[in-house]
Amino acid sequence: MSALLQAAPEVNPLQDPLRFERRVPPCAVVIFGASGDLSKRKLLPSLYRLFYERRISPDFAVIGSSRTPMSDDQFRERMKESVSKFLEDAPFDEDVWNSFAKSLFYVAGDLNVPSSYDELKKKLDEVEQTHHTAGNVLFYLSTQPSHYAEAIQELGAHCLHKGNGWRRVIIEKPFGHDLTSARKLNEEIHKVLDESAIYRIDHYLGKETVQNILAFRFGNGIFEPLWNRRYVDHIQITAAESIGVEGRGGYYQEAGALRDMIQNHLSQVMATVMMEPPTVFDANNVRDERAKLLRAVRVMKHEDVAKWAVAGQYGPAVVGGQQLPGFRQEPSVDTDSQTDTYAAVTLFIDNWRWAGTPVYIRTGKRMPKRVTDIAIQFKAPPLGLFQQETKTGLREVRPNLLVMRIQPEEGISLRFLSKSPGSGMRVRPVSMDFNYGSSFGERSPTAYETLLLDAMIGDPTLYTRQDMVDASWQIVQPILDVWGNSKFFFPNYPAGTWGPKASDDMLAQQGHVWRIP
């Protein structure tokens, strides 16, 4: 009864959503693995930047935790160094840092040692009082994936998973090593946390241009009628990196390109591009549609893997006058490693909209350039009035290509055919270009800024849900099974090229060729 009589909290009459940024509730952010690379390079710079831009509540605190013994001041000093070094496209301001640093705390502790959580609890109670965080806590697991289940169990055992306010946990990828381990991890996590409190981060989904796919598709009326098997010939998704494993050889050798990129980032991007329109733009509706799309992907039979998937590994090469090592020559990598540094797959979506339209996904390291894009190749016009004559005869022209560039030059371009000026009917493809950076000159928030804010606000739209993770593991599992039992003749592509020839052959089966992005 007393709860019924309690007055509802006053609605803030000072809000001005037209001009102010989204409202972020007060909270404490606990980072496990606070002395790690991700914290230094991404998390703390993002939090500082959000503070600098006045986008987080003044009532907030960050508690870093890791095994390294440190005082609060030492932690602040270290983080100051990292933030000033890794802050992207933004100034570092000493006064603002000093103000920010007052909300930084550190608790040394081992995730495996229960008493560490008692210390953490004490600190959380303290900042709830001193920093008015209203009992809201966002835990960020930036640790070895093998510690996830244990850390969450300990949070539960120490009653840190509930309190005066909300409790949310961000978990970094990978979510498991394969389908079985992913399911097991989910099971363990769900013993303590409800799915609504779990924020599985996939930083690709936080990129402005990936979010823009939704705006582009569902905010405009002209593209959606064409967005199906009748008009789309095929789709190519490319995520190429020019760098190698950059000192992460040990980790990468266990993961490989298929696990590292296609199982998570690229399957989520594919789902965003190909999902059905949600009925309402909210987290669950958007995620329902993504999950439905992933479930509609035809799961390969083991005997089909050789036909629809290609593994590659880069070998040494001289690029730009510089000798680049092959993967097997990288530090911490076995000299006969069977790890895929390149993976390409052909997927088919067995639903009404996309039946029969192939989706080609490729990703690799040591490619000619860093680029991530999605290309929608539309079908040729029904009648070839403007076929082009080539050495091999008449060629059907398929000029309409819509490219959504995710990085580095975020934007969208549409290629279409146009008459060349002058007499005669000579045609040539031209491109209509929208450049995200130049059309909106202001600095875009980084993916981590976006995702951290979303988690504080409680908007999981850009986070992956258990069923999505499960579905994407199901897609890649048969390939992992077959590749795990195969002996590859690696390396099969030199550094600085677009991958192995087998990948071109895979597309040639369907009469297609890879674009050169």
């Binding site: 000072l14 972020v24 030059e409």
Partner: protein, 340 residues
């Protein structure tokens, strides 16, 4: 890149000049054998100015705004010394994003009119607006805004207001009382009217509003019964009045304006007072602000005077009605009446 003077400044001639300009930009592209120029336009932005506008360069500001808000810019300068009654020149403002080969270009039309020709400029401007896109009128012609404006200036202003979707003015150099009169008059024309003095306040308003987002806060906003606004300068600046009006609008809190000496003119400090708490947000140095509460909260911010470009960038993102400003404006009028 710009054209020679177009006179008489008929829309057809000006548009022809623009066409030639794009053709010549396209020729450069052809010579280089790859797309080098991207044409961008999201609105027509008309800037009216006069010789008293000093160092302000409308062309330069439009060029800077172009990155966020590409427009067909029309700069109308009213000048006693113009050679012709009405003459025009077209030019393209281009910029090349860092590391990219392609330039983004926006077209600009500079029109110079003698004061007596200003009232007749309407038909020219109508022919020059970009089709199907909003027309934003940024009036920097101070004399035309003044309550004592001449008939010519009034008619000139009216000519542009009639085709504008939204008008933007800056009342910074007016007293708060005059500003309200001028804005009320402009609003009578049924167009959205924005004041950059209000835009300046965003960086004051947002941090204070944020404090009250915390539902666990001991003192909700309704407990702050009085507001003190400190400013420096000879007269109450519009932004100080807006600040007082905005904070007092929800619960009709009492507002006290205090004139103080400070290192900079304009709004200096906002103090919200409740029985058991006081929140102060103030400029502590030329480049710093501090927000502190008697309950122990404290936070520092950087402060930088907002440039015209910065203010317009914010203002141009608001296409429809600005409800918060409408409420504040109404409350500001009440406060002034109460204080009389």
């Amino acid at each position: 890149m710009s054209s020679t003077v177009i006179y008489p400044a008929q829309p057809e001639q000006i548009l022809k000049g623009l066409g030639k300009l794009w053709t010549s930009l396209g020729q450069e592209e052809k010579q280089q054998g790859k797309p080098t120029v991207l044409r961008a336009c999201a609105m027509t932005l008309i800037v009216a100015t006069d010789e008293s506008d000093g160092a302000f360069s409308a062309s330069q500001t439009i060029a800077e705004l172009m990155r966020e808000h590409p427009s067909r810019g029309i700069v109308l300068t009213i000048s006693q010394v113009a050679e012709h009654e009405l003459e025009a020149r077209v030019l393209a403002q281009c910029w090349k994003p860092f590391g990219k080969a392609q330039q983004i270009c926006c077209e600009q039309i500079e029109i110079t009119a003698r004061p007596e020709a200003w009232p007749n400029v309407g038909p020219t401007l109508i022919g020059l607006t970009a089709a199907d896109l909003p027309v934003i009128f940024w009036c920097r012609h101070r004399a035309a805004l003044e309550p004592t404006a001449s008939a010519e200036n009034k008619a000139g202003l009216q000519a542009i207001m009639s085709i504008a979707t939204k008008a933007v003015v800056d009342m910074q150099s007016f007293s708060a009382a005059d500003a309200l009169k001028i804005l009320a008059k402009l609003q009578l024309q049924g167009k959205t009217v924005a004041d950059l003095e209000w835009t300046r306040l965003t960086r004051w308003r947002a941090p204070i509003a944020q404090i009250f987002d915390n539902p666990a806060r001991q003192n909700p906003f309704s407990r702050f019964k009085s507001i003190e606004i400190a400013y420096s300068g000879d007269q109450l600046p519009p932004c100080a009045l807006y600040a007082g009006a905005w904070f007092s609008a929800p619960y009709k809190a009492a507002v006290l304006f205090v004139q103080e000496d400070s290192f900079a003119s304009g709004l200096h400090r906002i103090t919200l007072k409740a029985d058991s708490e006081q929140i102060v947000f103030e400029r502590t140095a030329k480049d710093a602000m501090s927000l502190h509460s008697t309950n122990g909260q404290q936070r520092c911010y950087t402060y930088a005077e907002r440039s015209d470009k910065d203010l317009m960038t914010e203002e141009l993102t608001i296409g429809g009605n600005d409800h918060a400003f409408e409420v504040t404006f109404a409350r500001a009028r009440e406060i002034l009446n109460e204080q009389r």
